[in-house]
Symmetry: C2
Amino acid sequence: MEYPSITSRRSPVAKAAAALSASAKERRERRQFLCEGARLCRDAALSDMEIEACFFTAQARETYSHYLEPVLQVCGQAYEISQPVAQLLSDTRSPQGVFCQCQWPGTLEGLAGFAPQGPCLVLENIQDPGNLGTILRTAEALGRFRVFLLGDCCDPLSPKALRASMGAVFRLALSWEPSAQRLMKLLEGYGYKTHGAVPDKGAVPVTAVDFSQGLHGVLIGNEGSGLTEETLGLCTDRVTIPMGGRAESLNAAAATTILLWQMAKGGEEG
Amino acid sequence: MEYPSITSRRSPVAKAAAALSASAKERRERRQFLCEGARLCRDAALSDMEIEACFFTAQARETYSHYLEPVLQVCGQAYEISQPVAQLLSDTRSPQGVFCQCQWPGTLEGLAGFAPQGPCLVLENIQDPGNLGTILRTAEALGRFRVFLLGDCCDPLSPKALRASMGAVFRLALSWEPSAQRLMKLLEGYGYKTHGAVPDKGAVPVTAVDFSQGLHGVLIGNEGSGLTEETLGLCTDRVTIPMGGRAESLNAAAATTILLWQMAKGGEEG
């Protein structure tokens, strides 16, 4: 099959797609994002993302035909693009040459429709897109945690976050919520126990929490400064990771992995 | 105090330092590496790294004086450098303007002097310097694991790995060893049980291993392909992380965090 082609970097269609890759503001205002890479685009299609347009180079159409197939079946428009246009759209040095322009996932905004069905993870003011993506990937791997992005988190739909998440963004129930008051009240109303993670030896060791009973949420704060005092004040308690080595040197993603693992196992221990 | 200054990017001293930042081969051949950033340079000094030379901009000398002080006390040479020279040495876009040229840590080569004192971590063919650095940081935080880099791991002294490790490279006992046969024989000789991590539901769940008795080592393989068959064949057993979600999507650093955490806690569970 023949597709319309875009060979100029001045094409308005290509420029509009590139802007989505480059700018969080563009994504927010247009309620769209750009997804890059053969596997990630296939994952978007298989996860029922609404795909407005797909872009691929002639080379990519050959190399990644099995990834492209499900995308071409569901996308609104498809364009064959030249290598320079692929470079324009890409966030990487050696683009695979496959891109999708998608609508924001419906769940991403607001708390409407939240059903208290299991453990949840609240991330406050996470700044690094690689960290955010990795954490989302782990949250999916260990049990499909419900995830809330609180305050001023970086954008989970940026190219770096999408890449690090390996598509978990498409499959997790994930909501952005600016207000700690509103979110914590909602969780409390459903009977959640909320555990704020702090690097503080006086807090409850996470190994002493019985996650097997009731509903639980863990809260993780910014990479440098942790949870805000406001949010900590709204938590049921404060938990910490007891460590044998140098306490200060566990990064946000590693700390989150341990907390999610403890929750997933459900377990209090000796 | 006045220090000799380097203002030209053609300075042989600056070029020699920059080469250490850019090339693993240079580091290996000259048995030196370049450390960037005020905090990392201070950590190198406080960890008894042998510092041949320190480089700083006038701006950095003011801004980071408390970090620079311990470095200047122990370094062989110190140079004030211009902003363009700082750019030449730097791996980042906005350099802090503090660098140290250091000798390789003595422990890094060979297995001589290995004393079986606790749990160890073996990393085989880890390719991403950010992953490697993060794993080393976690290995330090959770209990100062003895770490072996097996086969063709990326360089722990590259700028990216150093940065992600937050200086853990300076403080951990860390050895490079190309031969799985030699390493596994050594560990076996000391009575270590060695657990090869695999994403395989048929393997022993890590929650069923009793790490509290005897000496244990976990082995983690390459991000894409896992442990080699040769190395797996030399392990006491194969362990896996039981997961509620999508098993394939736990990255190497997250998987390692969970395994180290289980070892650090020492614990078998229900």
